[in-house]
Amino acid sequence: MSGPIPTPRAGDAPEVAARRAVMALCGQASAGELRDALARLACPDEAEDLRPPETGLVMTRGRIGGDGRPFNLGEATVTRAAVRLPGGETGFAYHLGRDRAKARLAATLDALWQRRAERAAVEAALAPVAARREAERAARDRRTAATRVNFFTLARGED
C-alpha cells in the first residue's frame, strides 16, 4: 500500500446510489469488458495504485428465517483495488472472486466517474455490459417461467 487511503467525502444519497450502480455494473462485467469500456473513454491519464489489487475474504451473512438475526453463512473470496488519478480522484473496487486485473480496471472507472464531466461517458461506456446482463437475465427469466407449475389437488376416491 502506498500511503493511507483518503476517505472521500460522503456524497448525497442519489450520488451514492448512482455510484453504487456503476460499481455493480463493473462487478458484473468481465475484465475484457472493462478494458473495452476504458478504451472507449480514451482517457490518457494513468491511474496510480493507492492499494495494489489484493484478494482476501469477506464473511457472507444470512439472516435466521431469512429476515431475523444475522448469522455467518461462509466466506467468499473478494478482490479489491484502489487507484488515484493525476487529478486526485480516487476510485475503489471490491468484487467477488480473484480477478485482480478486473478490480484495478473497475477502480479506475470508479475514479473517472468521480469527475462530473466524465460521469455520463463512463456510464455510456458500460452500457454494453448492462445490455448483456439484461439480455441474460431476461432469457433466464423466460426459461424459469416455462417451469411455472400449477398443482391440482385431486379428490381421493374413498367412500
Binding site: 435466521i64 431476461a138 407449475v149
Partner: protein, 394 residues
Amino acid sequence: MYVAVKGGEAAIANAHRLLAEARRGDPAVPDLAADQIAEQLGLLVDRVMTEGSLHDRGLAALALKQARGDLVEAVFLVRAYRTTLARFGASEPVDTGAMAVRRRISATYKDLPGGQVLGPTFDYTHRLIDFGLAAGSDPAPAAEAEAEPQADAGVTARVTDLLGRDGLIEPSPRDAGAPVGDLTREPIDFPADRAVRLQALARGDEGFVLALAYSTQRGYGRTHPFVGEIRFGEVAVEFVPEELGFPVPLGTLALTECQMVNQFHGSAEAPPQFTRGYGLAFGQSERKAMAMALVDRALRAEELGEPVTAPAQDQEFVLAHCDALQATGFVEHLKLPHYVDFQAELELVRRLRAEHAAGRRDAAEGRPDDAPDAGQDAADGRQDAAAGRQEAAA
C-alpha cells in the same frame, strides 16, 4: 497418541509423483479442465463451496480436480487456501426476499403468491440412466415462456411472511444488533446460540446432517415438518468498506434457502402457532438446506420446552461431529505411525498375560489369588500402561 517419526522422504516424494500420475489417469483421455468441472459438475462444486465454507467456484472446481474428486479432500484444500487470505470484514446480511428466483416450491400452499417454479430439478425425473450422455448428445434447448412481471420490484414474499401476517407462525428472532458469533474465530461455547449453530450446520457434512435430519423423521426427536418453501437463485451481496462508508455491491451469489414449518406450540397465555427451522447453503444445495432446516429445528428443543432425548437435539453431539474435515482429521490420523504407543500397549498385554498365567498356576496349586484380574476394565489397563511406560523409561 502420535509420536513423530523421521525418514521416508524419498518414498513420500515418489508417492506424490505417483499420485499425480494416478490423478491424471489415462493420458489418452483428454485432461479435464477446471471450468468443465465448474460447469458440468456444478452441484459437486456447490457442495465443496458449502462445506469448504468458501464461495469461489473456480477454486472449488480446481480443488476437486486436484483431489481426484474426493469431496472431503477438496474441502480440505479449500479450507487450507482460505487460511492464506486476510479477511476484509463481514458482508451486510443478504436479502433472500429479493432473490432472483430460479426455483421456488412450497409443500404447504399450491397457490402461493408469486407462484411456484420448478427450475432445473431432478424432481419428477424417472432416474433412468441416460445412455445418450455417453454418446455426448447435446440437450434440446430449454423451453421459454413469457415471464410474469413482478408486482413488488423483484421481491418475492416468503411463505413464512404469509403465515406470520396472521400470527400463525412464530416470527424470526429479532435483529438487536448484537455481535454475530463466528466459530472460525472463537471455539464453540456450549450452549451455542442459534447463529453459531446455523454456521456450523451450513459448513457441516451433508451426509451427517442428512442422517440426523432423517433420524428426527423416524422418531428420534420428531418435529412434524412441512416444507414451507424452498427457493434457489441469485442474491446481491454487499460490503461496507471502512474507507467508503456505504455498502458496495460485491456481486451476486447463488443460494438455496429452506423454510421449514414445524410442530405448533401454545400455552395458557400464548395461542398455538407453528415453529420454524431454517436452512441456507451456497449454490443449488437443496438436500443440504432441507436437512439443515430440520436439524436447526431439532436443536431448538430446549428453547421450545421440548424434552431433549435424541441425538439430533443434542447440541454437543451435533456441532462437535458435523464438520467433515474435523471428523476425517481425527479418524484418518489413526493411519499415521503409532509405533511407540502400540509398543506400550503390546508390553502391557504381554505383562497381563504373564500375570494371568501365573494366577492360573497359583490357583491350580491352591494358593490365594492376589494377581490382578486380566479381565479388568480398560481404565485400569490404561493406568497400567502409563505405569509400564514409566518403568520402561526408568
